[in-house]
């Protein structure tokens, strides 16, 4: 367990935001979202002051090294008296998910009160009855959840999970190395770039993008469409057209090992802090949207504390600080307004089409729609066999 507080490499793009953003945020409250601090009744919901949380690495703003600005966890401790034992050892949706199974699901006393798997894993957990409902009476800021995240067929209205951050899996490339602008998923299969293209080792994203390239809709996948997508991925891997990459795609792109890659929007935004020449595009055919979701494992000891945490991070002022730091799409209404009001740097972020896609861009984002469990498992197995 990493334990609190979390520190990470400092990013200049973020550091300049931290000072002014907090003040600007206060003024911007209520522009679109609103902050509700009603305490509600925490009886029968366990402890309120201790929280054990498992999250992905580098996925929350931290206290600056000189201590001039406090990260979310420190602010939470000083404002709410909530101590968070924060573990960021969650690595991926396959082997990493085993941590959740071993330490939060298949045990009588879960070691975590809050875990943050990707949306389709959260859906599996909800469908398997492994999670507690969100304590709405403690999460009054649930009202700030962007409706775009509330229509999932597996959790309409978001009663069992609350999105943490959302991202786009699109294409990142180095224009100097490609020699041209990339606008289509098919560009990743251009023989000219053979061996220097990255493909993310997440089945739903890799196969989803391939499906889009084939003209299929991954938000309503059919078996035939998914298999055609998988075949395309298989062929690209076996012929050496693409290399399977993980969350190190940004480093490989930065080093020039890759000229283009399937990429997560947030990590690319971080890379762009030091490499503004790197481009991130939502291809013409569309891109895959996903989100990581906060869920409370069944029998968690501190459900009330988890509720208080959710309420805090769904306050637009707090959410804006996290967004500015991690560079992913915030599911919290009002963040764009807070950023805009926080000064020129915040306004620049507020204008980012990757952080705040407009209606036209949103129409080109596809969330994996899911097949039956057996088929998904088979596709996962076949895909994982391709990954070295």
């Amino acid at each position: 367990m990493t334990g609190h507080p979390v520190t990470r490499r400092s990013l200049s793009r973020r550091n300049f935001l931290k000072g002014g953003l907090g003040l600007g945020a206060l003024g911007a409250l209520g522009l679109t979202g609103c902050s509700l601090t009603g305490a509600g009744n925490a009886s029968d919901l366990g402890g309120t002051t201790q929280l054990r949380m498992l999250n992905w690495v580098d996925y929350i703003d931290v206290t600056s090294e000189d201590g001039s600005s406090l990260g979310t966890l420190d602010r939470m401790r000083s404002e709410l008296g909530l101590q968070v034992a924060y573990d960021e050892s969650y690595t991926d949706s396959y082997d990493g998910f085993q941590i959740i199974l071993d330490r939060a699901v298949n045990v009588e006393n879960p070691e975590f009160d809050l875990v943050v798997p990707v949306n389709w894993r959260a859906a599996q957990m909800i469908e398997s009855d492994w999670v507690e409902p969100i304590p709405l009476e403690l999460v009054r800021n649930h009202v700030n959840l962007d409706p775009a995240f509330m229509t999932n067929s597996w959790d309409r209205g978001s009663r069992y999970q609350m999105p943490w951050q959302a991202g786009i899996t699109g294409i990142a490339y180095d224009p100097k190395l490609t020699g041209r602008a990339l606008t289509s998923i098919n560009d990743l299969f251009d023989p000219k770039f053979k061996g220097r293209v990255g493909l993310l080792g997440e089945m739903r994203e890799a196969v989803g993008l391939a499906m889009l390239a084939n003209g299929d809709d991954p938000s309503r996948p059919t078996l035939a469409g998914a298999e055609a997508g998988l075949n395309r991925v298989r062929e690209a891997i076996q012929t050496g057209q693409v290399k399977v990459v993980s969350d190190d795609f940004d480093e490989r792109l930065d080093s020039g090992e890759l000229v283009a890659t399937m990429a997560w929007s947030g990590d690319t935004a971080v890379l762009q802090g030091t490499r503004p020449d790197i481009e991130f595009v939502i291809p013409a055919e569309g891109a895959i949207q996903w989100f990581d979701a906060m869920v409370i494992p069944k029998r968690a000891a501190n459900i009330a504390a988890a509720g208080r945490f959710m309420n805090f991070v769904y306050d637009p002022a707090n959410a804006a600080l996290i967004t500015a730091y991690v560079g992913y799409i915030s599911p919290v209404l009002g963040v764009q307004d807070v950023l805009r009001a926080s000064g020129p740097d915040g306004a620049a972020l507020a204008g980012s089409p990757v952080l705040f896609p407009d209606a036209a861009a949103r129409n080109r984002l596809f969330t994996w729609g899911g097949l039956d469990a057996e088929t998904e498992t088979r596709l996962d197995d076949e895909f994982l066999r391709l990954v070295p």
Binding site: L136, E137, R140, H142, V143, P147, T151, R156, R159, N363
Partner: protein, 456 residues
Amino acid sequence: MVTITSPPRPPHAPVANPAPAAPVARPARARARELVQRDAEPRRWSRSNSPGWYRVWAVLTAATLAVLCAVGSAAAIRSAGATSLIQTDTAPALLGSQDLFGSVSEANAAATAVVLSGAIGAEDRSRRSLYVQALNRASGQTEELSTLVGEDTESRDALKQIAVALTTYSGHMEASRRENALRGNQAEAELRTALNLASKDMAGAVDTVTDRSQDRFVEQRQQGRIITLVAAGCAVVALAALLRLQAGTLARSNRIVNLPMAVATVLVAIELVMLGYAGVVRSTALGRAETDGYRAIQATALLQRSAFELQSQLSLDLLSGQTETSETRRLQLTGSVNSNLAALSSIADSDRERAAITELGIRWDRYQKATAPLVEGKGAATPATISEFQSSGLSAFNGFNTTIESVLLDNRSQFTSGVDDAARAMRWLPWLAVIAPLVGIVGVLVGAQRRLGDYK
């Protein structure tokens, strides 16, 4: 004729008492009367002496227990059966018909928005996906409902009508979409035909299914009440008989406890208590399910229906301009949403529910604010207005609608938990109603036999 003969005295038997005087000859009629009286005497003697008393009361008590067994088990089976039917069929049918309302209304709202977006350019893919999902849900719910309504002819006919209407409805929607894509002039007419089909034929049929399910719910709630009262009466009589038998035993033998009879008495007392307890719990739990759960579900479903209709109306007005009628209708629907929100708020009985309804209210305000500027102009909307509606109005509506569903789910949990409690209370009653009197009969007969054995 009874002949009485005296046994011959042995020849050398001592004479204890002086021999009585020879009887005086009596008239034949008097002698006959005497003989009849003597003949009757042993029977009178058997009711008043102890073994006879035990036999009579044991048989009487066993008979009341047998009656209790028959009536009690019939009452328990009837009540438990009705409760089980509520749990497995009627309650899901009630919820299913409300879901069907929701799905059809959502399909309407989403499809209208799709046509609206298609009118100004590329159709809204996510809205189209919501329409397809809602239509598929409605189709699945119709199939599921037909397995839940049993042999109810009226409901079955209504469901057949819905199934046919759904096909026709989707046909019109697709025609509207195609016309839109080809920039034909029939898009709006096809859309209106589909909406009419939904609001008249389908909504009417769904109403029929809901009404019939509600009738069945009330009917099944009442089932078994009278026979349970009769069974309770039988149990009181049986208990009285058992107590009389015990009291008699105590008086005649000075034995305080006759164990088999005491066991029988306790079992019958337990059955009486359980009949009362299960009846009260069942009635309370179903009442709670109705007041806390179902009424809230109805209010939520009405709210959802009004909101969806409002959304469809708004889309149509943006497409072809407002009329006085459409404006009035929109105002009515807004009033309906507001009043149902107030009703829901007054029904809410937990912090969680109140929090969800507060959220619903905030999201409703957002939707109204987002759409207010759009309905100010009287003519058909411009592409810019429609685009604004697509991005902010529909998004706010999504938030409102999915929050309604969230509230609906909470109310469903309350409803099903009330029904489950009722079913749980009835679970063991049929067994108890059979076993307790039967064991009681055995206890009475064994207990009486033991006492008779003492006499021998």
